[in-house]
Symmetry: C2
Subunit: 291 residues, 2 copies
């Protein structure tokens, strides 16, 4: 995909929450331009991790520009790039170092569940990477990652209505207007790209390679990036975080399939289970008595 310099500037403006300058634009540039950038020799460095220590006590993210940047970022490099570049770009332009020392293109690998493999949703993965950058409290960090995946699995996507439709969003067969969006929504029931995308396409009778899927995932990318911004604000306010509980049915499952079970399928003991996920979306044949 070839973009003109004007388009790049426009996109970078979105990614930086409308506060782009030529100097900050260069931070979005490819490696070929990297030598042009000036790196701070003093102040917070990338190695001074995690980065919560470099944020002012009152610092909060603004989810509004993050969502719009994530939506456009999807069309520039996929779901993971959209969420990653929007969140890191916003942090860079509003909090400075060390966020402005990071490459904004780092998330391009994660699109389509990592290299289109259908693994973890790239927008969710981007959210994890950014949460991991910031949150120093390991218990809260894990709770936030668990909560993001549980929220994603049960949320009806897409929900975001962009301020400006991206110039690359053409050829739609479905009506993504604010008034009709609810009719296109579906719960992924999994944090993995493959069931999330394939399930949505099946529910709407559209193809996974078509324009409608891209429009859905661009809006989902905005939804996820906005959720991550809001979660980070919740954490920064409380310096703690509590995840939503596992659903009751799955709670029954792990009441037998515990971390200390030693069953092997032949000794009448339940096999052990290592997971924080809901059980029934995959193990739909195990909801009734099965021993």
């Amino acid at each position: 995909m070839a973009l003109s310099r004007r388009e790049l500037i426009t996109r970078a403006g979105y990614a930086l929450g409308g506060a782009a300058s030529l100097a900050t634009l260069q931070s979005c540039s490819s490696s070929a331009d990297a030598a042009e950038t000036t790196t701070a020799a003093t102040g917070p460095q990338v190695k001074d991790f995690p980065y919560e220590q470099h944020l002012a006590a009152s610092y909060r993210l603004d989810p509004v520009p993050v969502k719009e940047a994530a939506y456009h970022g999807y069309y520039a490099g996929g779901c993971c790039h959209g969420a990653y570049s929007a969140l890191v770009g916003h942090l860079a332009s509003t909090a400075g170092a060390p966020f402005n020392l990071l490459p904004l293109d780092f998330g391009k690998f994660g699109g389509g569940g990592i290299a289109s493999y259908g693994s973890i949703c790239g927008a969710v993965l981007a959210g994890h990477l950014v949460v991991n950058m910031i949150v120093a409290n390991a218990t809260a960090r894990a709770a936030m990652m668990t909560d993001l995946m549980r929220w994603y699995e049960g949320n009806a996507f897409p929900g975001y209505v962009p301020s400006a439709v991206d110039t690359l969003e053409t050829g739609l067969t479905k009506d993504f207007s604010a008034g009709n969006l609810v009719n296109l929504q579906a719960q992924p029931r999994s944090h993995l790209c493959h069931p999330s995308v394939s399930g949505w396409c099946t529910a709407n009778g559209v193809s996974a390679g078509g324009a409608d899927k891209k429009a859905r995932c661009a809006r989902l990318t905005a939804d996820v990036a906005g959720k991550v911004a809001a979660m980070l604000n919740t954490y920064l306010e409380a310096r703690a975080y509590t995840a939503a509980a596992l659903d009751a049915t799955s709670g029954t499952c792990v009441g037998c399939h515990t971390a200390s079970s030693t069953g092997n399928g032949v000794n009448n003991l339940p096999p052990s289970s290592a997971s924080g996920q809901a059980c029934t979306p995959c193990h739909s044949d195990k909801t009734a008595t099965h021993w």
Copy 2:
């Protein structure tokens, strides 16, 4: 877990392929010590991404110390931390900047399939993050990520035999010696932690919270980190990479469930599928005719 300074030095020595000095040891330290480190104001910076451009044409990784460091790194912070700190630590000590400007603790979030959620195997995720750092060719990068996941799904784990058993590896009920390891091996059939760990524990009649599982995952972490080092060397030699093909059965599936299908379950057309994964491990009920 509290480690003495001597233990920290020993572990850092492993992580850095045996070439640890006090200066490089500080690069492994927590954020509390970060202010002590010296950051290069010139030379390759973190933002100068991807990092292939900073490697000498003849640069290759040494998988041997990477594997041993990854094994010990597992006990210091989980599978993702083990693979990430071993690979980035080795790159930092053998290739320098910008790898030595990165925090070695970045991978601790990924253990147990990200915050113990059972998503993508943390060692595989660490491999993706390191491949993504280096490989400039986007086609090769995607092929390497696809290949790593396909290899993982079909490989019999664990395979690594450590040079020195970690001091934290105690309480085993299974024999992990070189002569018996083959009897403990199982193929994950998925790149996700939950089926990988739960399946191995079930096959061996052990618990997911026990010492045997940790010993298995520590060795698997070494196996994955070594594979990533070898894959990177293959790429650095050829500056290209080709992934193994999808298995033949799954190839039949995606012959109907294409990216351009528009089925919705009621119109006699196959639903579309977005995935690079093998189909049968999850869709075991769909191997025979199902329309």
